[in-house]
Point group: C2
Chain length 416, copies 2
């Protein structure tokens, strides 16, 4: 594709969380990877039109929390509880990434799978290993996807094979930052695994790097009760878990993603909102690890920005429509327990998976003017063609499969 | 395939609910559609062996509650509550099945989809329409699957387009019974939609037919609170919902399937166990319609037989591994609320989806001697080939897709 293009088809997106905007038989004009026009007429003459008549054109999905090195362990040990699962499966698997060639093999398939699932942007945890993390960034870049890739930091309370020397951990992180910070598509992100696996010295060093290079941060927050209690024991002087991150400039000082956010007081929810931190909702993971249900309605009411994540390997599917459905389902259960928590509407969660997640990358995830042209083209079954575009979307989200996605574009370029 | 065959590969099944039995590089000898041998050696000389080396061979899935006419509405209106969903979507869609040609078109695709998803046996609700129900039975038979197909009965409290004359409802039901009762694969089942849509006269007539022809029964029980209250209002003389069915010989007098079974007292659970009624767990449907969580652990402890169902279109996936995962997930949430309800193990739910559901068809759903040879052949990704067979199964259940199923056999014959 040139640096200009016109796309023809049926468009659907969520400029705000409460409504779908649909456009039947519309035209989208792209220039230099961004949207310049969306409307009923072809805005330019004598330009080839990419004709996706009868297809649904949607913003691509943004998967804002996942562990790429856990790809091969998906589904394993789900009868175990959290700590056994980590020790028997996760730490054993992540330790294999000391081998860059193993990493290359796994991450190649992983990047293929992101594309197949219609994911255009991600925030990814790698492992502690510099070379392997580099391989991950390269594989994502080769696909032309957007990503924040984090070399994970762990220097305490971890498996011996995954415990770093504090100084080396910081050095390797800085080396990775310097290698990738100028890239337009794949960028570094500061990634302490979570409070229990980091010493204060490491957290301090990571906060310094975040500020020095003005880099975003990702980690885990209040996923389960024993984790919350452990943090309380490790940092008795801090009232709340999130204060530990905050103390070290890792909580909203730069753009920040915090996965899970389940066990929270009202005061903590207010602080997440105030610091503009994104809470990343990973509903399948929270079910699989018996973590609980994120108080999404309460957090939305408090003004917290929420994105969606697959969280593989604790989650088990890279197909973000599965996460959308699960988030709706869990909100219905939350409503049964407390009817002041109204169930989430499909538009609210579609918005999380597109424009909200996309906003971490800038103007992405919507079909408004000047947004990046990151979108997917979805085949519509014969039986759905006489339905409204919104019903076609409902059918795709609930019953669609990755193979219904026939094309994926990032910055106006097709991705394979 | 002849009436004898040998299958070679890696086998996994659950003769009881607590353990997987695995056999690596095994041989299964089939004769006249049944299993005569499973072991380490090829039992017969000079017989061609179907070689599925490195593949996983599993019992096929039994989907014991679903509404075939709702196939085209999957995912529609999931932001609505139950009654609006029924009125705006379900009743409108089911009314279209007055046209046998519409039915033929939908049911052809539906039957293809059952095969694609690895489902070997089903218990299906059709609509009230005789001709369309006939088309459904024909399409399933043409595929070579096992099914109980029910012409639905409704003569009160329903959309006008779906309200039958009581006498005609019973006549058409008997006509359908006579047409299909001798068939070995597709059989009739008595199918009152649920108590609120049937008059006492209709329920009485259906109970008589069940006894007269010794036919099984399927319906819905205690899916949501307002439905339970409505039944109480309609039949104030009965203490419990299930007593209404029981009064009319529709509750265990012949083999009986009752979908959902969520809002139940201990006395009702005991009665379900005592009457040998199968409770059919449909976890996705129960989430999508905000129905609640079936008390599975409690019911297992009380000795209730439990099978699994997709319940499309309130459920949204025909792929039974999705129902298996959801059942595990919901049991983990139930455990968070009440820690006496231990989470369900994967083997327990795999058993429900295979041997327990299969037992409604006789000796089906396991790889024991004399069981019907209903099985699927599953491709194993490269990354999983060095794992245990149990881990390969875990990966397939959590992360597998219908296209990983490369072959499906019913009664020893390949199905396409």
């Amino acid at each position: 594709m040139n640096n200009t293009a016109v796309i023809h088809g049926n468009f659907l997106y969520t400029p705000d969380k409460d409504n779908f905007v649909t456009l039947k038989n519309g035209y989208m004009y792209l220039r230099n990877g961004r949207i310049e026009y969306l409307g009923n007429k072809c805005p330019i003459e004598n330009i080839p039109v990419l004709n996706y008549q009868d297809k649904l054109i949607l913003p691509g999905f943004y998967d804002m929390h996942l562990h790429a090195p856990q790809f091969n362990q998906i589904g394993h040990g789900m009868d175990e509880q959290l700590l056994d699962w980590l020790n028997k499966y996760t730490f054993a698997e992540e330790s294999k990434f000391v081998s860059a060639s193993y990493a290359e093999e796994v991450y190649k398939i992983f990047a293929d799978e992101l594309v197949r699932n219609g994911t255009v942007g991600t925030a990814i945890f790698s492992t502690i290993h510099f070379e392997s993390t580099n391989k991950l960034a390269e594989k994502i870049l080769a696909k032309g996807l957007r990503a924040y890739v984090g070399k994970v930091n762990m220097d305490t309370n971890s498996a011996t094979t995954l415990t770093e020397d504090t100084k080396i951990s910081l050095q390797e992180t800085e080396k990775f930052i310097q290698k990738w910070r100028q890239n337009k598509f794949v960028k570094p992100i500061i990634t302490p695994r979570f409070v229990p696996s980091c010493t204060p010295e490491l957290l301090q060093g990571l906060g310094n790097l975040a500020v020095k290079y003005n880099l975003p941060v990702q980690s885990h927050l209040s996923e389960n009760i024993s984790e919350v209690n452990l943090v309380k024991k490790l940092f008795p002087q801090e009232k709340y878990y999130l204060e530990v991150y905050d103390k070290f400039n890792l909580f909203g000082e730069t753009p920040t993603l915090m996965a899970h956010c389940i066990h929270l007081s009202d005061a903590e929810i207010s602080k997440i909102a105030k610091r503009n931190v994104y809470a990343v909702h990973c509903p399948d993971s929270n079910l699989n690890l018996s973590s609980g249900i994120m108080p999404v309605r309460k957090m939305l009411n408090a003004g917290v920005k929420i994105a969606l994540g697959s969280d593989i390997g604790a989650g088990h599917s890279l197909f973000i429509p599965h996460a959308i459905v699960r988030a709706v389902q869990l909100s219905k259960l939350a409503n049964l327990a407390d009817n002041s928590c109204t169930p989430l509407k499909l538009s609210e969660i579609f918005y999380m998976a597109t424009k909200s997640g996309g906003s971490f990358f800038g103007k992405s995830g919507s079909f408004e003017i000047n947004f990046t042209a990151d979108f997917i083209v979805v085949n519509v079954p014969e039986s759905q063609k006489n339905k409204s575009l919104e019903e076609q979307l409902q059918n795709f989200i609930y019953h669609g499969k990755p193979q219904d996605i026939i094309k994926i574009y990032v910055a106006g370029k097709p991705v394979n």
